[in-house]
Symmetry: C2
Subunit: 426 residues, 2 copies
């Protein structure tokens, strides 16, 4: 047996042990009371408070290793657990503890003509595998959401955050045990070899769903190799369409907010469409604001005629999520061309229309095939907290199971409950 | 290029054409009005009425070919389109036309502290691929459910039903065109080579979900090879647990109904558990009824002590879906052992408890991890019509997206709708 083979066997045994332990813990956390789950969440808070210094030291190790490896500044920033980020982790845990427990909720219990009552009960999915990159605070967020939704979880963070993740994992484990729950309810992978991920996503007998959080490359690779269902979060090529009956002043304000309030989020505006009849007035009003923020404009021919500072867009621009101070702008005939362009080029994340025309709002809401469709609003609102979900594990651009921001409910399923009194089927 | 290669290229082009046409049609059917969709459904009824004779002739060709190939009697039975089955198809279409349209329904539209309104709108999934075996009436059922739920569909029936399926497909196409909709909304595959299925389930760009309907082998093969999400319907190893506080008379009646009313359905009872303290009274009361129906009993040691006609069960019996007049029976200590046995051996389809103990009902409903959990009721009620869904495309034993009987709602998704008045995110 050569080294590679021995390592593969070793990975196999390691991942299967994780899976068995998770499956066993899932039975317990599924029937845990709301009180027990909240107690665990608040005990994790206590453990983090008590271990701030050791978390800081572990993070320091990761930061030094990252600096030695010359990680990009953006990665180094995400890796750092500042005091304020630790405070955010604590606040997040307290918020999740305060959310209503989704598990066990029975809805739509109704009598049927046969005399039986039929309804649906919300239940956990079982075991959730979460694969993420550099931000160690995700360990805490993911653990809290899985715990509250009655699921066991296997968390696999980025190798560059290993020490930080293990320090947080110890606090999570301490909190779970303080509430009398199985410590394997949340397992944080302590190995960094890629084979672990490769195996984890092919074990439907132990893992019910995989949630990848990270760059396009990671998500595409996992989606293509997985034998377990994946809740995907792909890119956000988000559009704003300024209709011929839009309020121009509000449209400018929304276009500025949607593009410039943050460049790196998936609900940031990437492409603007504007109806021909209002294009000049709108674009001339908008351009100084974008200039002030240093936003580069890549425009269609008409846009370039109106705005001398615009550079010509290429075909590729219409499909690009810049995540940067760049925007593509296209002048369209009207709502038909706008909807058609969006359904052709959008990534199905979030699109918004600015208009006071009732029929146009109705058509836009119905015909645009994206996870969030908006009227007279900034695309930046597409977020679990803004939508009232209380927390968010990601934004799904899939249609099956969960679409749009995924909160606790997205980590659950519903089974049918049927009540009778000795009823038999004729 | 040898013959095989040429055939593969040919299959590739064929399937991609189907996919492109379906994707294009999906945009149209998604925005079709309720009136248009119902008009199409009722025009299919007219076409079937007008073509009863050609459907009968096509079916005759399939039956003759089946007889020549010496198909099993059960397969030959499923293949036959009797007058009464054609009537059932027509009635099914009329029922689906009468169901409320799920598409466009907006729920939970609420104001958020930021001032925006957030709700959810029900939308079609897009393109649904349905792969089924011998029953040609599935062509009509599947077409009607996809049409009403605003989806385009690619239907691939069994090779032995090719002529019947094509005759029905003509009626479906005529109905869709009579309502002014794109005839490619429902495409019925007219090729019988397996490569078509193999390719269809690996095209996420054209197919949004695959629903396999058929035997375990078909479903396992599709699940393992698919690159498209699959709504699975695996086997139904359904349990009835007769608790120590059960009404014995009602328990006998339910056990008889659940096992003997039909042997071949997925919600048929396959395994009985009975609490030790009532085992003798219950089993002695039940045995004559099973004897009358010729049901073979495979029992645990205690069962065999109580019933001399029982044969000893092997370990394999606890995991077996017989689909035949055979049942496994096990005497258990009480509710703990019953729940544990079920969660270990059940296929997660449907389980029922007979009891008058409140705590036991609460525990059974919460802790048994199956798509339908029942109290004092025959497992035979696990069915879309009995649950009030109006129609059913299958019973999902998955947890993600759809669980239990899948009706129109299971063929839809929800997107977020956000309404504002120039709102920007702070």
């Amino acid at each position: 047996m050569d080294n590679t083979e021995s390592k593969i066997l070793d990975t196999e045994a390691y991942v299967i042990t994780l899976g068995r332990q998770a499956r066993e813990a899932a039975g317990g956390i599924a029937k845990a009371t709301t009180g027990q789950k909240n107690k665990a969440l608040l005990a994790i808070v206590d453990a983090i408070e008590a271990n701030r210094e050791s978390i800081r030291q572990a993070n320091q190790l990761d930061l030094e290793a990252g600096a030695a490896k010359k990680l990009e500044p953006a990665l180094m920033d995400r890796l750092e657990l500042t005091d304020s980020r630790v405070n955010d982790m604590i606040e997040g845990l307290q918020q999740v503890a305060a959310l209503p427990d989704p598990i066990g909720e029975v809805t739509d219990l109704k009598y049927r003509p046969s005399g039986i009552q039929v309804g649906r009960m919300r239940v956990p999915l079982g075991v959730i595998g979460i694969i993420y990159e550099s931000r160690p605070n995700v360990t805490c967020e993911a653990a809290s959401l899985c715990l509250k939704s009655g699921n066991a979880a296997i968390l696999r963070g980025g190798s560059e955050a290993l020490h930080s993740n293990q320090a947080i994992a110890k606090c999570v484990e301490a909190g779970i045990e303080a509430a009398g729950l199985n410590k394997n309810t949340i397992q944080v992978v302590d190995r960094t070899d890629r084979e672990v991920v490769g195996r984890l996503i092919t074990l439907p007998e132990y893992v019910d769903v995989i949630v990848p959080r990270g760059g396009k490359g990671l998500i595409a690779r996992i989606s293509s190799d997985a034998k377990v269902p994946v809740i995907k979060h792909l890119d956000g090529n988000c559009h704003l369409y300024v209709d011929d009956q839009a309020d121009i002043e509000k449209s400018v304000s929304v276009a500025v907010n949607a593009k410039t309030s943050r460049y790196g989020t998936c609900c940031t505006l990437e492409s603007l469409l504007v109806a021909d009849s209002v294009a000049k007035e709108f674009l001339v009003g908008l351009a100084p604001h974008y200039a002030e923020h240093g936003v580069e404009i890549r425009g269609c021919v008409k846009t370039c005629e109106i705005l001398s500072q615009a550079v010509p867009a290429t075909a590729q621009d219409w499909d690009t999520e810049y995540l940067a101070p760049i925007i593509s702008i296209k002048v369209v005939d009207g709502i038909d061309e706008a909807i058609d362009h969006i359904n052709r080029h959008s990534s199905g994340h979030t699109e918004s229309i600015m208009t006071n025309n009732y029929k146009h709002t109705q058509r836009f809401l119905r015909e645009v095939d994206s996870s969030s469709v908006m009227v007279n609003t900034s695309t930046r609102f597409a977020d679990g907290f803004e939508y009232g979900l209380g927390a968010e594990i990601g934004i799904s651009t899939d249609k099956l199971h969960a679409r749009g921001p995924v909160g606790l409910e997205g980590l659950t399923s519903q089974k049918y409950v049927v009540l009778g009194d000795g009823h038999i089927r004729q």
